[in-house]
Each structure stands twice: as C-alpha cells, then as structure tokens.
C-alpha cells in the first residue's frame, strides 16, 4: 500500500512538473474588448513573427475587464495590459492595480491633451489613451432649420415642432441617465463635483443641489409638464424615435453614429445649446486606453509594446470592419468608431462628424474618476427620473439627491 502511494505521488509530481511548465509561458497577455481584439491580434501576430514573443489576446466584455482585473490580477492570473475607460482609474488605482506610466515629452505631445489629463490620476499617468468621446447635440436638419443655441430655444422649438405636427417630439432625452443630463446641467451653471486649480475633483464640494443644477432640472420639469418629454424613453427608444423621424433633437455620442447612419435619416451634429445667460455647455469627456497591470512581471515589455507597436505610425495591420478590409495603423483602425486620442491618427480620420463632436466637447470636463463618484450615479439619475415621471419638483428632487449622496459618501 505504502509503496503504491509513493509511486503514485512520484508520477503525480512528474505530471505536475510538465503541466506547470506549459503554464509558465512568457507571452504578453492583453485583455481587450470585441472592437480592439482583432487589431491587437493582428498586431500581436506581427510582433511574434518579428521578435518571437507571443501576444495572447483574451477577449472580454468591456465592463468585465475591470471586474475580472480586480480578482485575477492580485492572484497572479491577470493580464499584462488591459483596455479600459479613464473613469476606472479611481477604483483600480485605489487598489494599487495599475502601474504608472512614464512617457517622454515628445511622445506625449502626440496625444490629445484632454485624454492625457483624463488618464492622469493624483498626478500620475496610468494609461495610453486610444480614443476619446463626448456627447454632442444631434438633430434632424429636415425638421430643424437652424439649430437652437440655448435651451430655452430648444423648448420653444420643441413646442413649435409638436404644434405644427412636423414631428411627434422635438427634443427628447433618455430617462434616468445623468450622463446625458450633465451637458444641460452645466449649461445652466450646475456641476457635480467642484475642482481645484489643478483640475482635481473635490469630493467635499458636491454640486448636484447647486443653483445651476436645479435651474437645469427646472427647465426639464417645464418640458415634462408641457408634455414635450414622454416617459419611458430609454436609449433604444430615443434612437428609435430619432431614426424614424419622430423626434427632431437629442444628445448622443460618437458611439451612436453607426446606427444613425444605417437608419438613413438625415442628421447633423452640432454644439450643445448654452444656458440662458450664454454659459457654454460642458459635457463629460471620456477616454479609453491601454493600462499596464501593477502585477505584470514584464512591465518594460508591455510599455514597449504599447509605445512602439500600438502607437506606431509605420506598422500597418489589416482588419475587417463590417464587410470592408481596412489596412492602416492600429491607432487609426481603433479610431474608426470614436475619435482617436492619438493626434497623427485623428488627422488621418475621414469621419465627417468627428470634428463636430470635437467642437461640442471643446470645453468638456473629464468624467470624475474619483471613487466617491460611485455614490453619485444612482441618486442623481433617480432625481432626474422622479422629475420626468412628475413625482417631484426640480428643487425637491435635486436637494434630496444631494442629501442622499452626502450620506452615502460619509456613511457608506
């Protein structure tokens, strides 16, 4: 019996050794979402052919990347590189999961400064920006001759469109979504978190119940009370109404361009209307980019792969987008659906609407990445929904929401 057990263990040890040697690969592991995976796969194949290092691209849902990173990286099973959004920084950096990046000035200058800002958290840069995004005012030029310049004009125009029967609705917005409400809020002088001189968000200065924020919600309450804003409008309904010509104006981002174009409806992208005193609207600015795991054991290689391969201006990859084969630099291809954060790639972009989105986002504010933001979304969105459903006045809704957020931040 004892002998058998000994032999058993010996064989187990041998098997174990051989299996673990398979696991101990030195491939560069990249976690990417479905739109970037084909690009990195192509690029990785070239990298392996040239330098003999495999690039193992693992495709995950965009949001899953952050969640999986939190469990996998500390256990040593994580990737070397992830793609993600800049507003993940708060959560990831608080937990020490990201390696700060040090890039040379000359190289940094090739990126949109706002994107570099967005990927800077507490003074350190944590990502190589790939794309930028901000919402703009999208309208149907057949229904709207001259785009409105203030939100009061938006309301008057909506009334007119409905009264004339030009369309079922004038301006519509999606329910319960504070992200798309923020541009209206800032046009009226409202804000979410105050900022210090360096541009860092201050968690103690909450602006959800500021005068401007309430004024913006009061404007929206007027839209609801006058029957101009239906309830039950989610993202798909909003787009459905616009794309069938039943709504004339909305706020949406570059990610929606593809479906609007497919619908064949005439559209134009414009600057988001200003507030009553002419205050420019400031939508949220977002950036997506590559980040290096603090648990990577080949950070130098990962950084070199990003700066010399992903952000290369010479290397060309061929990827199928839709039904077309496209050959271009990785940054150019990744900048197909959203404006590239890499200026040389942005310059080459032939997208007719990106410049308009850039104009709408000229004064955009980076979406706060501070961890306190997690306490904000739900209460903030609920407040707008309560007004949309006629259950609370603008002032009540935002005052209560601000109280909720303050307690959540302090007691959560």
């Amino acid at each position: 019996m004892r002998n058998r057990l000994f032999i058993l263990l010996l064989v187990v040890a041998v098997v174990l050794g051989s299996i673990s040697s398979i696991f101990a690969q030195d491939a560069l592991v990249v976690w990417a979402d479905d739109t970037r995976t084909p690009v990195i796969l192509e690029l990785g194949a070239q990298f392996e052919a040239e330098f003999g290092i495999a690039v193992d691209v693992q495709e995950l849902g965009f949001g899953d990347i952050r969640d999986q990173m939190k469990t996998a990286a500390p256990a040593g099973e994580g990737p070397d590189i992830i793609i993600g959004a800049h507003d993940w920084l708060g959560e990831l950096v608080t937990n020490g999961l990201l390696e700060p990046m040090v890039l040379e000035e000359e190289f940094l200058a090739k990126f949109a400064p706002a994107a570099i800002d967005a990927f800077t958290f507490d003074g350190s840069l944590y990502g190589l920006p790939v794309t930028t995004e901000n919402v703009a005012f999208v309208y149907n030029p057949e229904l709207v001759e001259t785009p409105p310049t203030t939100w009061d004009e938006v309301k008057t125009l909506s009334e007119q469109i409905v009264a004339d029967g030009t369309a079922q609705y004038g301006f519509i917005r999606q329910d319960g979504d504070p992200f798309h409400f923020f541009p209206i809020q800032t046009a009226f002088g409202g804000y979410v978190f105050g900022r210090d001189e360096a541009g860092n968000y201050l968690p103690d200065d909450l602006g959800v119940d500021s005068e401007g924020s309430i004024a913006a919600l009061a404007w929206f309450q007027g839209m609801v009370e006058d029957g101009l804003q239906p309830t039950g409008v989610d993202y798909d309904v909003m787009h459905g109404l616009f794309e069938s010509g039943d709504a004339a104006m909305m706020i949406t981002g570059p990610w929606a361009l593809e479906r609007i174009r497919l619908s064949g409806i005439p559209y134009a992208v414009g600057v988001i209307p200003a507030g009553p005193d002419g205050t420019t609207s400031k939508p949220f600015f977002g950036a997506q980019g590559f980040m290096i795991s603090a648990f990577s054991e080949q950070k130098e290689l990962a950084a070199a792969f990003l700066t010399e391969f992903v952000a290369s201006e010479e290397i060309q990859v061929t990827v199928t987008i839709g039904e077309e084969e496209v050959t271009a630099t990785p940054m150019e291809i990744m900048g197909t659906f959203r404006p590239s954060a890499f200026l040389p790639a942005l310059e080459k972009s032939e997208d007719p609407d990106f410049p308009a989105f850039a104009e709408a986002g000229a004064e955009a504010l980076p979406m706060p990445a501070i961890p306190e933001m997690s306490s904000v979304w739900s209460a903030w969105g609920d407040a707008v929904t309560l007004v949309a459903q006629g259950q609370a006045s603008a002032e009540e809704a935002f005052t209560t929401a601000a109280e909720q957020i303050r307690t959540l931040i302090n007691e959560g």
Binding site: M1, L8, V12, A13, L16, S20, F23, D26, F47, F51, G52, I53, P74, G76, G90, E91, V93, T94, G96, M101, V102, F121, G123, S124, G176, P230, T231, G232, D234, D236, V237, A294, E297, Q298, K299, E300, L301, A303, A304, F305, P371, S374, S375, S378, A379, D382, T385, L386, A388, Q389, Q391, A392, A401, Q404, T407, L408, I409, N410, E411, G412
Partner: protein
C-alpha cells in the same frame, strides 16, 4: 490483490476477479487524476499566495483519498465526488462570505496585510541625485547581459552584473561597437525578448545598482524598509516612518498625525496615510472589524432607511410569484390532463417561455410594456382609453414585474404538476365518484392534497428563489421607479438583494465587500426564518409522506 478479491461480489463466478481488478485500477486511476489536478491547483494557489483556498482544497483532497482507499468507508465512495464538489463550491464560499462579513474588505482595503507589505517592498525609487541613462543591451555567450549607458551629457559607460560601472569611449565612427569586452551588441530582433530578462536584473555592484525602469537605466533604491517586529514601514525616500494601524487598516505616520491632532483636534487622517504613485489614496489592508458591518447596516439610517418597506415588498413579491405561477401552471396542467385534442402540441407550445433564456424574455417584455411605446401598453391604451404606466407608477410597476415573472415561471409548475397529476391513482377518483363528489370536491379534497405532497417542497424552493430573484429585477427596471425622499436611493420594486447590491457597490468610496457579505448573511437569515415558518405551517405533505 486483496482489495480486488474483497471488491468482487460474493459468490461471483471466477471471471469476476478480473472485473474486480479493472474496478480497482479504475479507482486508482481516477484517484490519481483527481490528486494530480488537486496538487496542481494547490501548487498554483500556494504560488499565488491564496493559502486559505489551498489548505481547504488539500483537506478536501485528503478526505477524498481516505474515503477511496479505506475499505471500511466503502459506502461513502460513490458520493465522495459530490461531497468534494459541494465542499468546494458551496461550503467554501459560505465560509468565505462569513469571514468577509467580519472584515473591512473593499476598495481601498483590498489586500491582506502581508501581501500589501510585499508589494510595497518591491517598490523602488530614484534618489534626487540619481542619474538616468539611455541604455543599449549587450549579451555574452553565457547569456549574461551588460549595458552600454549614455548620460544626459553624452558621457558613455559600460556596466555588467557584479562589476562597477566603467567609463567607455565611443568608436570614432560614432556608432556603438558590435562587441565590447566579450559582450556582443544585441540585434534588434532580440531587443524585446531581452526586455523580459532585463527588467529583473540589477547591474553593477554593492550599493550602486542600476536597473531598467520605464525605458531608462536608472540607479534606483528600495523605497521601503520593513520592520516586522515594530510593524513599521520606513519610506527611505522621505524618511517618514509609517506604523500599521490595525484599527483602521492603513499604514499611518503616527508622529505626524499626533502633531496635527495637537494643533487641530478634528485633523483628517488622510494626509498621514502611507501613499505613493501606486497607492495614491493610501495603502490599506484588510482587517477584522468584528460586528462593525452588521452594526452599520442596522444602525445607520442611510443604509437601512427604506429597509422595512423593501422587506415587505420582497416577501409579497416572492409569495405572489409562487401563488400566481403555481395556480396558472396547475390550471393548465389540469386542462391538458383531460383528453384535449392537440394536447401534446399545446404542451410543447406552453413550455416555450421556459426554454427561452429569461434575460431575453425580460428584455422583450420590457419593450412591450414600455409606458408610451410598448405594444401591450398601446393596445391597452386603445381599449381602456388610459395609459397604463408599467414603468413610472409604483403599483403598475409591481403588477408588471409579477406578470413577467408569471410568464417566466408557469411552465415550470405546469410540467411539475402534469407529472404529479399523472401519479395520482385513478381508482381514487373512481372511489370519489362513487361517494358522489363533484369535480370541485374532487379537486379540493383529493387532487390538491395529493399534489401538494409532491409539489410542496418545490413551492418553498420557488419562494426562496424569488426572494433573491436579482436578475429579474435588474433586467426589468433596476428596482424603479425611484421612491422619493428615502435616505438612500431605492426603488418601489427593489427587493432586498437588488437594494443590497446597490448599497454594497454604489456607496461610499467604491465597492465594500465586507458590508455586502454582512447584508447577504442578514438576507440569508431572513430566508431561513421565512422558510422554516412555511415548513411548519404547510406540513401537510410530511404527514402524507409518512404513509407512503
């Protein structure tokens, strides 16, 4: 061979000896594979520092081995795989959840203390007088690396492992030499592969070590020194000594904080936490916090404000879901039990909602019930001449969610009831008819009690399932419409688990797993109480089953 002979069935023909041998071989083979995988798993987990799970798997594996190697434990053999899997996938998560509920585990206090210290000890810094060099890698035939360094002034140096840096001169052609002191310039094609090695090599000797950081060669030093006995970390860059404060789970500059407290009794501790570019918000670790998470949940109005109404709705929702799905399922089963023409066809058709993934069904219903744009809402509006606000009205939202759950749940009870109905002996009905019972009396006194014997436990299972039916609520309307004026955001259709989810991940400064686990345990306790209550008051099947 003794094992083989005892394995053979008693009185078996001589051929059974070989089949017994095969059995033993299979058993050892199976055990071998299981052990191999377990060892591999333990090895990998231990390497990653996940000791708790490694030990747990080791214990489970040993128990499985004992069960399968000892003859006197033979009866347990066949259930040992199930036991092992249950231990791993049910018992361990429960133990872990209970453990987490007593810790401050969450964003900001993410790692066990030891793991955090190890991470900090790996950090390096470049002293103020440190020089950055551009580098080019060389390698000799033994595979040892060396670096050609150029500083900002254009001076050149050569450095190998274990030897001090020496000044070097660039050849007259201005290009780096192909070979130098036995080392050869690395070809471009090997540059990246070399990076994997270079990152972990310290060049030079003694105190003056040079390493590759962020694309440059720099003389970097260890950032922290750890004194395990005093539980302090000294920041060698600034000289500040940080002490582990096990009451908050952070390394704190005690001296600085006390000085600040002396000046201002309300001084914030945040500026005195050990922080660096990797842990910019302070290096926090997991600590045991006792009952703190439970205390917070029960005493803070911010957390438990709308709790009572949510609890009541949760119970109502679960009860009504069970009652509606069971009634409709039973009704259809009864209708199909009679010799309806096309009964198979209808039954197949009626199972369809069960076959479609719930998430898809919910999304479809979500669209159809939409206040202004849904097919069903518009249809109802055209008949009733008034809009049914399935999403914005608290009562209608609840009706909507019960309707959807009915759609999702009735096929299950239809199937179960059909089976159970078929099992009721038909002579009992004949006897009832002889006694003069009408159809309703038959159903009430015969069908229903007999059915409950079989279906009763499933009703309770269905109740507990719906009590925690997070997916349905999240997919339908995320608990909306919002309740106005609650201390924390909550919705009219929020059930405990969806409310708890938002509390745990949408509060404070990020995810709070400790609080989430504590709330889970509280919900678990509630489910247990409610279930026991039901078992006691619906004990009919137990009595009947005694007679079987």
């Amino acid at each position: 061979m003794s094992a083989a002979t005892t394995d053979a069935p008693r009185g078996a023909p001589s051929g059974a000896l070989s089949s017994g041998t095969i059995g033993v071989l299979l058993r050892y083979g199976g055990l071998f594979i299981v052990d191999a995988f377990a060892l591999l798993l333990i090895y990998m987990l231990a390497a990653d520092g996940v000791w708790e799970l490694a030990v747990f798997i080791a214990i489970v594996t040993i128990i499985v081995n004992i069960i399968n190697l000892r003859e006197d434990l033979k009866p347990l053999r066949w259930i040992s795989p199930a036991l092992a899997l249950m231990a791993l996938f049910v018992i361990y998560p429960i133990i872990y959840t209970v453990y987490v509920a007593f810790t401050n585990y969450g964003d900001g206090n993410f790692y066990p203390k030891g793991s955090l210290v190890n991470q900090l000890l790996e950090m390096q810094f470049v002293p103020d007088d440190g020089v950055e060099y551009d580098y080019t890698a060389y390698r000799n035939e033994a595979g040892e690396y060396a670096l050609w360094l150029t500083d900002a002034d254009g001076k050149h140096f050569f450095i190998t492992v274990g030897n001090a840096m020496t000044p070097a001169t660039l050849p007259e052609n201005g290009e780096l030499p192909e070979s130098y002191e036995g080392y050869t310039l690395l070809p471009n094609s090997e540059r990246f592969r070399a990076l994997q090695d270079l990152e972990n090599i310290a060049f030079g000797e003694g105190e003056n070590l040079i390493g590759i950081r962020s694309g440059n060669a720099v003389a970097s030093k260890d950032r922290y020194a750890h004194d395990a006995a005093a539980d302090t970390l000294t920041d060698l860059q600034s000289g500040v000594v940080y002490t582990g404060d096990d009451s908050i789970g952070f390394f704190v500059d005690k001296t600085g904080y006390e000085a600040a407290l002396a000046a201002d009794t309300a001084a914030d501790i945040q500026p005195f936490l050990l922080a660096n570019e990797r842990f910019s918000r302070g290096a926090g670790y997991r600590i045991l916090v006792g009952l703190n998470n439970f205390e917070r949940f029960f005493t803070s109005p911010a957390l438990n404000g709308p709790l009572l109404r949510i609890f009541l709705w949760t119970v109502t929702f679960a009860l009504l879901s069970v009652i509606t799905t069971f009634s409709v399922g039973l009704l259809i089963a009864l209708l199909l039990q009679a010799n309806t023409p096309g009964k198979r066809f209808f039954r197949t058709l009626l199972i369809v909602p069960y076959a479609i993934p719930a998430l898809i069904s919910v999304s479809v219903w979500k669209g159809m019930l939409n206040d202004n744009f849904g097919v069903v809402s518009n249809f109802l509006e055209s008949i009733l001449n008034t809009q049914i606000p399935f999403f914005s009205d608290p009562v209608w939202a609840k009706v909507g969610i019960l309707l959807i759950n009915l759609w999702l749940g009735y096929p299950y009870f239809m199937l179960v009831c059909s089976g159970a109905l078929a099992a009721i002996p038909s002579d009992m009905y004949e006897a009832a008819k002889v006694d003069g019972a009408n159809t309703w009396q038959q159903f009430q006194s015969l069908t229903l009690p007999m059915l409950l014997v079989a279906v009763g436990p499933l009703l309770i299972a269905s109740f507990t399932y719906n009590f925690n039916n997070f997916v349905l609520i999240e997919a339908y309307n995320e608990g909306g419409p919002p309740i106005f004026g609650t201390p924390t955001p909550a919705g009219h259709t929020d059930i405990l688990i969806s409310y708890a989810f938002r509390l745990a991940f949408g509060t404070g400064r990020g995810a709070d797993y400790g609080l989430a686990s504590a709330i889970t345990i509280v919900i678990f306790a509630m489910v247990v109480v409610v279930t026991l209550f039901q078992f006691r008051f619906t004990g009919s099947w137990e009595e009947t089953s005694k007679n079987v």
